[in-house]
C-alpha cells in the first residue's frame, strides 16, 4: 500500500476526509443560502430564475457542483464506514447508558446526517433533477422597460425543445426568457407536509453543524486558545442558527403566500 493510501486509510485519515468534505459543504451552504435569499424578492421570480439559469450555465460553477455532489457522497460513505468501525470497537454494549456530559448532537451525528441525506435526495430530485430533465417545466418572459424600470411578466412557450434561455433588447425594452424554476418552488412549498419536512431537515442541519463545524477544526488539529472561540462562535451562530433559520424561512414564507392566494 502506498504511503498516501495508508495515511488516508488510517483512523485519522478517514476523519481527515470527513473534516475536509464537511467544511467544503459548509462553504457551499453560505453560497446556497445567499443565492436563495432572492426568493424573498417580490418580483415574480425574475431574479431567482435568472440566478438559477446562471448557476446551470456558467462552466466553473458546474465543475464545483460536481465536486460538491462527490463531497456529499464521500462524506456520507465515510460516515457510514466509520460508524460501522466504531460499533465494532464496542461489540458488547453497557447495561447502563453512558451519562457523561457530551452534547446530544455530537452523539447523534449519524442520525442527523441520515436525515440530511434523505433530504438532499428529495430536494435534488424535486428541483435539480426537474430543472435539468423535466421537459414540462414552463418558461417565463420578463419584459423590462429600461426607461421606467417596470417589469412585466408573462408565460413563454419556446419555439423548439432545445431552447434554454435568451436575453435581448428591443425598443428600449429588455426581454429575458428563462426556465421558471420559481413556479416549481412556489408549487412545492404550498404543500404543508413538504414544508414541515423542510423545516425538520433544517433542524437536522442546525444540530449537525453545531457539533460538526468545530469538530472538523479539531480533527484537522487546528485548536488554539486564540482562534478556537471564534470557530465556536461561527459554528454556533452562522452555521447552526442563521443559515438553517434563513433556509427554513423560505418554505414557511412561500406556504404563507400560498394560503394568502398571492400565487
Amino acid at each position: 500500500m502506498s504511503e498516501f493510501k495508508q495515511t488516508l486509510n488510517s483512523s485519522l485519515g478517514k476523519k481527515l476526509i470527513m473534516a475536509l468534505t464537511g467544511l467544503f459543504l459548509c462553504t457551499f451552504l453560505i453560497v446556497h443560502v445567499g443565492g436563495n435569499l432572492l426568493l424573498f424578492n417580490n418580483d415574480n421570480g425574475f431574479s431567482f430564475n435568472v440566478y438559477a439559469n446562471f448557476l446551470t450555465h456558467f462552466p466553473p460553477i458546474e465543475v464545483i457542483a460536481y465536486l460538491l455532489y462527490l463531497s456529499i457522497l464521500v462524506h456520507a460513505l465515510y460516515g457510514l464506514i466509520l460508524t460501522v468501525k466504531n460499533r465494532k470497537a464496542r461489540p458488547v454494549r453497557y447495561a447502563v447508558a453512558a451519562k457523561s456530559d457530551a452534547s446530544w448532537s455530537s452523539k447523534n451525528m449519524g442520525l442527523l446526517g441520515s436525515i440530511m441525506f434523505l433530504f438532499i435526495v428529495i430536494h435534488m430530485g424535486d428541483f435539480w433533477f426537474r430543472y435539468h430533465n423535466d421537459k414540462t417545466m414552463g418558461f417565463k418572459e420578463y419584459r423590462t422597460d429600461l426607461a421606467t424600470g417596470e417589469t412585466k411578466v408573462s408565460d413563454y412557450t419556446p419555439a423548439n425543445a432545445e431552447f434554454s434561455h435568451s436575453v435581448s433588447t428591443e425598443n428600449n425594452v429588455e426581454v429575458v426568457r428563462v426556465k421558471d424554476l420559481h413556479a416549481r418552488v412556489a408549487y412545492s412549498f404550498s404543500n404543508l407536509i413538504y414544508v414541515i419536512f423542510y423545516v425538520i431537515a433544517m433542524g437536522a442541519v442546525a444540530f449537525h453543524l453545531l457539533h460538526g463545524f468545530q469538530s472538523a477544526f479539531r480533527t484537522l488539529g487546528w485548536v488554539h486558545r486564540k482562534y478556537t472561540p471564534v470557530v465556536y462562535f461561527i459554528g454556533t451562530w452562522l452555521f447552526a442558527v442563521i443559515i438553517p433559520l434563513a433556509f427554513a424561512a423560505m418554505p414557511v414564507y412561500y406556504y404563507y403566500l400560498s394560503t394568502q392566494g398571492a400565487h
Binding site: S11, A89, R90, V96, A98, S106, T219, G221
Partner: protein, 261 residues
C-alpha cells in the same frame, strides 16, 4: 440508633473468562460505612462471598491512592463512578445513598477483552506505548538538569499530559471505544518537550498505527473522555496529535514511516 451505615444492592457483571459469556448477578452489600472507598466496599462483599464459599468478584486494583491506573469499573454509567477527576479507589461510599442499587460493569471495548468478571486486559495500551511512547537516551555522562531551557507554559502543558495514568477510562467512556485521549496524551507529553523532538514525527505515526491495529474506534470529538478522565486530560491533546500526524504524513520528507514500503 442508626450508625449511618448503608445497605446497598450491587448488580455485578460476572464472567468466568474471555471465552464464556457473562451475566449480571445481584449481591447485597450490608452495613457499609460511608467512609469506605468503593474498593473497600467490594473487599467487604468479597469477604462475605468467600465465607459463604462463593467465588469472590474479580476486579483490578493496586496502589489505592489514585496514581497507578490499575483500578477501573464502570459504575452506574460512569467510568470510575459519578464523581469527576478521581479514580474508583478514591471514590467514597458517601457518594451513594442508603438502599441504592449500583450497577458495576467492566470497561467495554473490543481492544480490552475481559480477563475475569470486572477485570479487563489493557495490554493494548502497553503495546501502543512500546510502539513509540518513549525517548531514546544513549548512555553517557549525566546531563545537567537545567541545561535545556523550557518555557514554563510548555513545561506545564507537558506535565498536564504526563499525568495520564493509562487507566482506560477514556476508552470506556467513548461511544466509539476510541483510545485517542490516551494516545494523544502520551504523544503530547513527549512531543512538547525538547527531548522528545528527534523522534516526534516517527512516534506519532508508530503509535497511531498501533492504536488502529488494536481495534480502537475513531474520535467524534464528543468530549466524553475529557469529562470522565480521572486526571482531567484535555481534549486539546487529540487536536495536537492530529496536527502532528498530518504534518508527519503529508508534509514531512524526513520522517517517512518505515512501514508500508
Amino acid at each position: 440508633m442508626s450508625n449511618g451505615n448503608m445497605n446497598l444492592t450491587l448488580k455485578v457483571w460476572r464472567q468466568k473468562n474471555a471465552q464464556t459469556s457473562g451475566k449480571f448477578v445481584s449481591y447485597k452489600a450490608e452495613n457499609i460505612s460511608p467512609d469506605m472507598s468503593f474498593l473497600e466496599m467490594l473487599d467487604v462483599v468479597n469477604e462475605s462471598l468467600t465465607h459463604k464459599g462463593d467465588e469472590p468478584i474479580n476486579f483490578d486494583h493496586d496502589c489505592r491512592e489514585g496514581i497507578c491506573g490499575m483500578c477501573s469499573l464502570y459504575i452506574n454509567g460512569h467510568p470510575h463512578g459519578p464523581k469527576r477527576g478521581i479514580t474508583t479507589c478514591q471514590l467514597h461510599m458517601r457518594t451513594f445513598h442508603d438502599g441504592e442499587t449500583i450497577t458495576i460493569e467492566p470497561w467495554r471495548a473490543e481492544a480490552f477483552p475481559i480477563v475475569k468478571d470486572l477485570a479487563v486486559d489493557r495490554s493494548a495500551f502497553d503495546r501502543i506505548q512500546q510502539a513509540g511512547g518513549y525517548v531514546s537516551v544513549n548512555t553517557g555522562g549525566v546531563p545537567d538538569g537545567n541545561a535545556i531551557p523550557i518555557p514554563k507554559v510548555i513545561a506545564d502543558e507537558a506535565f498536564n499530559s504526563a499525568t495520564c495514568i493509562g487507566c482506560g477510562a477514556c476508552v470506556a467512556a467513548c461511544k466509539n471505544a476510541s483510545a485517542m485521549l490516551f494516545v494523544s496524551a502520551k504523544i503530547t507529553q513527549l512531543g512538547l518537550l525538547p527531548q522528545g523532538q528527534p523522534e516526534r514525527y516517527r512516534r506519532v505515526q508508530s503509535m497511531v498505527a498501533q492504536m488502529d491495529e488494536e481495534g480502537f474506534g475513531s474520535c467524534t470529538n464528543t468530549g466524553a473522555c475529557e469529562a470522565e478522565c480521572p486526571k482531567e486530560i484535555k481534549l486539546t491533546n487529540i487536536a495536537r496529535m492530529n496536527n502532528d500526524y498530518f504534518s508527519a504524513k503529508l508534509f514531512r520528507e524526513d520522517e517517512v514511516h518505515e512501514q508500508g514500503h
